[in-house]
Symmetry: C2
Subunit: 340 residues, 2 copies
Amino acid sequence: MSPSHERRQPVMADVAVRAGVSHQTVSRVLNGHPNVRAETRARVLQAIEQLGYRRNMVARALVTKHTRTLGVVSFDTTLYGPASTVYGIEQAARAAGYFVSMVSLRTIDRAGVRDALDYLAEQGVDGVVVVAPQRSAARALTDMPTGVPVVAVGAGHTGDVSVVSVEQVEGARLATRHLLDLGHETVWHISGPSDWLESEGRVQGWRAALAAAGRPAPDPLPGDWSPRSGYRAGLRLAAMPEVTAVFVGNDQMALGALRAFAERGVRVPEQISIVGFDDIPESEFFTPPLTTVRQDFGAVGRCSIEVLLRQLEAGPEWSHERHVVPPRFVVRASTAPACP
Amino acid sequence: MSPSHERRQPVMADVAVRAGVSHQTVSRVLNGHPNVRAETRARVLQAIEQLGYRRNMVARALVTKHTRTLGVVSFDTTLYGPASTVYGIEQAARAAGYFVSMVSLRTIDRAGVRDALDYLAEQGVDGVVVVAPQRSAARALTDMPTGVPVVAVGAGHTGDVSVVSVEQVEGARLATRHLLDLGHETVWHISGPSDWLESEGRVQGWRAALAAAGRPAPDPLPGDWSPRSGYRAGLRLAAMPEVTAVFVGNDQMALGALRAFAERGVRVPEQISIVGFDDIPESEFFTPPLTTVRQDFGAVGRCSIEVLLRQLEAGPEWSHERHVVPPRFVVRASTAPACP
DNA sequence: GCAGGGAATGTGAACGCTAACAACGCGGCG
DNA sequence: CGCCGCGTTGTTAGCGTTCACATTCCCTGC
């Protein structure tokens, strides 16, 4: 309202006048161009300071063709895994001088991913990382028309884009082996939603470990990552006396299962051993503390930015990269030797 | 590399040529200007379609002076509360046609908030919402030099900016009253970090309820929101036979306390009743299921965007708004009448 | 003393869009 | 018949940068 409020932001030309140089010299100072006399640079810097000048990134982006903004498309950032990954991404991106523009999908389908990518491309992001470990999302990525580099997090080897993910199969194998080594006859499994690649990888690792030990693989009980689905599966398992060991697809479902067992008077780990996946901060304080497979989501996020940045500077010459970060097995109190 | 890859994106002029009109007419079509003949509009639309033209938002922003991007600065988006709030914000913003640019702080201090705001302002965001319920963050907001509208989430009535938050005091009062009504002599409290406004509000509500009932208020045990800190406090409480009811600052600490009680053989709710705060998705499956105070983080996020948008269109004439969303008390199995 | 060269600086033209105004065509009215 | 006015379209001028190139300056070496 007041004139002082309406006084427009100073622009480069204002700084130039004040410093007694041309706008181009101001630009050079701002961009750290070497060929500027120290004395001139100081004068420009002073003028900038006095005027409170700030470079207009929009105008800059118009000519340079890049916005120093990265897009992130993710599914349900309310979940611990995606949230942590996105956090890692944001930190790494900012450290590298990039902004992060977010799109959270509420459902994952080809159209959703496509729209998100379009949306971000329209805004002019320099690259995007897609945190959407569903098979449908991975497929949606295969023929994306956007000119921007894309890296996928948690997707399988879809071939078309760079991928960074946690070695799910290995983690599941570790968990299952642990249970087997404890003397359990076989290991049951509560799985995640079938269209999640992570879910698939865990089933695969579990099956592999069982097969390697020559044990039968029972049918996995289907879950959807939620504690409630783990609870329901747990109820079923609790009614089956032959069950002594369960590998659960994630920690939240493990919590639900724990609850079901507690309600049915099944004692963990005395009667049933249970292993989760993820190692959310709460797991250590479950009743009992949960043995689980830790995923370093932060590392995944950081790694994805490294790959993306590399791709950015490589230009159209980049080749797809594939990175796998190893899981870590964490033994706590929810597993015990089988009673003979 | 190949020429087909290097063919630059079509621009408005290309569309104009193809449609046999001027670029300005294309602009008019894109912006839904009324005075364009239907037949012309159709021709332009067709040309856009054929060329796969996409408007360059950067160039547009340069002249319109707004980017249709909102900034979000938040603290540790790994936590359920902030993550959910940010999710709500993102959804609401996108529904309104805005992008969301994120900055996650790893520590909250005046300089950090300031830098984040500067950073976003430089990028040209139209407005920003700050999800940083620490007192220090709230203070940092009081004299922000940026010309962009700001709304704070979870901050107290700092006077200088619009605020939307959950009524913490009321929630804490509800929780404490519930415990008192159950016949408990008094209620102990495990608090959050002292510089969080939410923490403060909960202490305040707890104290008020106690005072209203004429009960003494024990010293609150300090925590930091983490399950571990709740565990430590729980250990101390377990050693005090006079403790029969505890109101815990959040669900994660409550989980820790539950664990401590379990280890010490203190039975919940038979010997000690416990109430949490937040209602994270896991709480329902704790052992025992946790009685808690639900915060609707999503609603907070959405509301903050509504306020911000209102502020945007009101221009410099806006007056600060203050919105409070009510909590909801959820009774589960962690509380029981005091044994006389 | 002057040509040559590199460092320092300035100039003009984009970048792709929108805003303001100008121009055009057409029908109705005096 | 000519003029006004309105709906429609075109023209021009920026927005605030950077880039490519031109220019100036000063120093060096013969």
